[in-house]
Symmetry: D3
Subunit: 237 residues, 6 copies
């Protein structure tokens, strides 16, 4: 029995609220249960220095947590003077995941920065971020299309992410904080709407895991991401 | 005529939503029109090193803005590696304002940190922060009282804040971003429920202002803060 | 009775020594009693990036304290790796105050940086800084006029500053360190030669203050600043 | 045909040179072809603050590259003032991987830091680091055993790592820099001597990859890591 | 002919003004011509962590320049976020030089920090700093003796410093900025009252120098330092 | 008797291994006994901003130590967030020393950065660095000559360095760590192939030293550097 009382293959309630920010070109407040992340997509008419003059754009991401998004208050990174290794790891993952479904040539020499800020955390902030970031990015591109800045071909597919893990010997999907703290194995999967795998990160927290165990996590993830992509489709329709 | 079409002495719609965060001991999402700030109060059972062993507590504040809280995306302070001078000025002001109505001896050797994070900005983020921070702090103290950690005497009064300014020659209250950008004079007032003044900050943005002009700003502020304190009372009742 | 034995409306002995630095285009060693600040004005033939190409100049200020300017040695900010919030607050105030009496268009596309470095501190370093900075700035502009770089119309008025506070229940002017540490209310006023108000910063250190109390501080400040402006006039004549 | 002319399942020549450093308690210069990493294990008789008093030790890792380990000189991180996100990601991975085969209770309240410094880079620096770090750690523990500080049970298994990828449509093992730059998919695997999986990181650099493709990478990795563990056994015998 | 019109063996006018700071336990404003350095000695009743419990004290130094001490304004190190390599080199030299004549056991478990802040620079700031720092340190120790904190034996000798260089082919003493900029060789000497050498730093700015040339610089320095020590004796008597 | 059992004028075994790095334009692994430093010379087709457009090049150096190059592990400077004062002092010395024998005009508008990274330390890392850096620089220039980028006249002479000190009352050459820790006086000498002096740094660690003592150190150094230059000549022939 999971602490959340959910079935092994049952995700938390997921909502995707578009247009949460009045300023951003695209935005989405994504909730995976009690994990709430505000994703905003910001357009800039210039690219990083190393990309200039190549007729290609760039999509990048930044990630942050409000200090009291967590059970215990965490030190504000702006006060600490730098982003933690964990923060950098996550924002690099979000950026890579989004770029996997973006045609950077079709974007033109512009940059879109997707900020994922965790308002409240209860496990799975990186997978919620990726799933919501796609919606914010999609809305930013719609905003650009409405102004004839780009055509339909910038976004090549959906992208969504889910965590799976082995909890008390059983493979389960979408771990909340309590489950995550006790899981023996923790894995994050990023996949496209077409079912292609973009990123796999699996870590043994306790004992090493076997190939069979890993395959059962991948099974759960495939089903979950299909469901998340459906929710994205409903949200943007 | 103000760009916001409000009367000179008309504040924006103000809401104070308590309990917004599931983790924090006290929290409040405060809205002054389109300015939205999440205030959380976090309790720690220890005080800063310079205060140890004095049987007194401490209340402090930190302030931040999400990168796309503003019309143009601002660089994340965690990436820049430090808080800006403006950020530090504001969080010092919030902390001082709260401490003006806290009996630090009655708090005991503990620290409460109130984080004010601007989710969306449209002028007046510091005054909204102070007004909402008081509610979060009050709820944190109620949480402590329910656990017999403190008595009723920690908070000695309400505290709230409002901006006033001279716009197109006329003294007006609660400037939004558009009004603030064009105001000749900009002033922030922090006052207690009993009407005592805790902080005055007045700045001539264009021409210097006269004593009479300053007095009319103070008149507007007194009335506005009375109204804000009423809203706080309703919110916590 | 004030610890300094001064009357309530009696400022410390103030001196303004011009040309203290052989290198700077303008300089002034200002003393408010035992508070000594060296102000130097440095001219650069370029403006900050955000101001380029607008045919306007910029005046800015930086503030620092020698480590043993104070009763106890303070950590050098260059060693700490950053300026404190207090330092940034003060240098922003000095810069704003000076710009209130500068015609930036008449200055041309140049920047003047006024450095205010506290050699010895005994309260009131920010007000001494502003008062002395105006003299250094004025001399820098005279230096430029002598080289036909600008005309007479860059500086539109004098600017000077003084602190007032409520000490042992009595409003007093120009608090030294001892008085400042015990004052219930502390306020800084920046005013022009014509009597216009440029900046007001009032803070209740203990109990909140009333409007009447604040008005008596403003009375003291007006008289004090008139006297400081007279001293500036004598110094530059 | 791979640029390296190696067969798809052919690793580069791997050497593990123990005792390279005269100062460290354990050390190993590991070479995967032209990728050379110096691993040193340093023992300290204290643990990080958050672990004190728990009768457990800690194993951690740090990673660095000499500025000209790469084809183009990279900026020294000590000059840049911080470790890059990539560096932090890699050193966290090395540390996690080592801890997966360490009995921290048996280590006692001590810390071992394994430094992995890349002398020369040609792809696969993180997998070479993990493979060599295990040898340095093993020698450090032998050094401790010889002094009766620990018993035989600290290290529970071998740990080694290898990269696999899809190059020109074919799954290949142990990519060098040239192959890595052009690979469509890049994956790193960390496994124990017993064949348990400790970490999987797979990333689509170009098109998403399928589950079948991923399985063929896992096949290659399993065989490769078996070979690396054999080399470790030979090295320490 | 030197630009300064001084004879080859003629130092600038040197003054040592004691008691310049009202707060510091010892202080000295030292002038070598137009080079002015304020030296303050600050006593702390604790030593750095690595020295605790050894019944010995520590003497250290910090060095800084006001931004407009020089002909062109230099960026403030507190703004840059760190001390330059040059600053660190100089303050390490000052500290080493002072410690060469201090009996750290006789000082007891205390630290004296001598701050050398350059108010105005015209070459030779490090040698002026060392020469003035000794006076400030001596006064700090007198202050301590007057309070029975130490005895007479802490300071074992005088210490002073002078620069010499080869200018236009001729060995000269005490170079000012103009001479220093054009000198082929630049050397700094630190010597005790008894004539012992504590530090020699010689650098060829243009062509390498010969042993004979170096010996003539050392001759000049010996005479100059004898003179500086006489001035120190007069200053403290 | 020296701890190393070497005669007073006997250097450690010195080797200069060229071409250690496959990527750098020039490289040399230099060993002074157990002190091992990897020197790489990296060519860039641009100069620092302050040198642009002057038809001159630049040669600079950076220095680092692997964390466990020393007997006790030292904190990684990339983690500490800055280079120590000692590191900066050494890299400035290496750069100055190399530039003393480089014709920067003949180099053209390019920069060569020589990185000196200490793989293992046993005293004398700065002198080994300078001696090895010259070989790496020479090979970088040969690489450029082979591509007709420069002619023969860039390097005007050899440069090498050695430390001398007074150990147990006797002047000795090339101190290892143990000797250096106990030496009364420590001096570093940098000289050209023609015997010209480029840099002298002498420091009294205990009692001040006399002129005679210093002369005997200089005698030892001259002989030692002649020997090092011979070794450089053999290495590059």
């Amino acid at each position: 029995m999971r602490p959340s009382k959910r079935a092994a293959d049952e995700m938390r309630s997921v909502t995707l609220e578009r247009g949460y920010s009045r300023h951003a070109e695209g935005s989405c407040l994504v909730k995976f249960g009690e994990t709430h992340v505000l994703c905003t997509a910001s357009l800039e008419e210039r690219v990083p220095p190393w990309l200039r003059g190549q007729n290609r754009g760039w999509v990048t991401a930044e990630y942050g947590m409000l200090p009291r998004a967590t059970g215990e208050r965490m030190r504000r990174e702006a006060t600490a003077g730098k982003q933690s290794g964990r923060t950098q790891e996550i924002q690099r993952l979000i950026g890579r995941s989004l770029r996997a479904v973006v045609n950077l040539e079709a974007l033109g020499e512009r940059q879109i920065t997707v900020d994922c800020d965790v308002i409240q955390a209860d496990g799975g902030t990186r997978t919620a971020s990726i799933t919501g970031a796609w919606v914010a990015l999609n809305d930013c591109l719609s905003w650009m299309k409405a102004r004839d800045m780009v055509r339909d071909n910038v976004l090549t597919d959906h992208i969504a992410a889910i965590s799976c893990g082995i909890y008390a010997g059983t493979p389960v999907i979408d771990l909340d904080y309590l489950e995550d703290s006790d899981a023996e194995t923790d894995a994050n999967f990023v996949m496209t709407g077409a079912g292609g795998i973009v990123e796999i990160q699996g870590t043994a927290e306790g004992a090493p895991f076997s190939r069979d165990e890993f395959n059962s996590l991948l099974d759960l993830a495939s089903a979950g991401i299909t469901r998340l992509v459906d929710l994205q489709k409903m949200a943007i329709s």
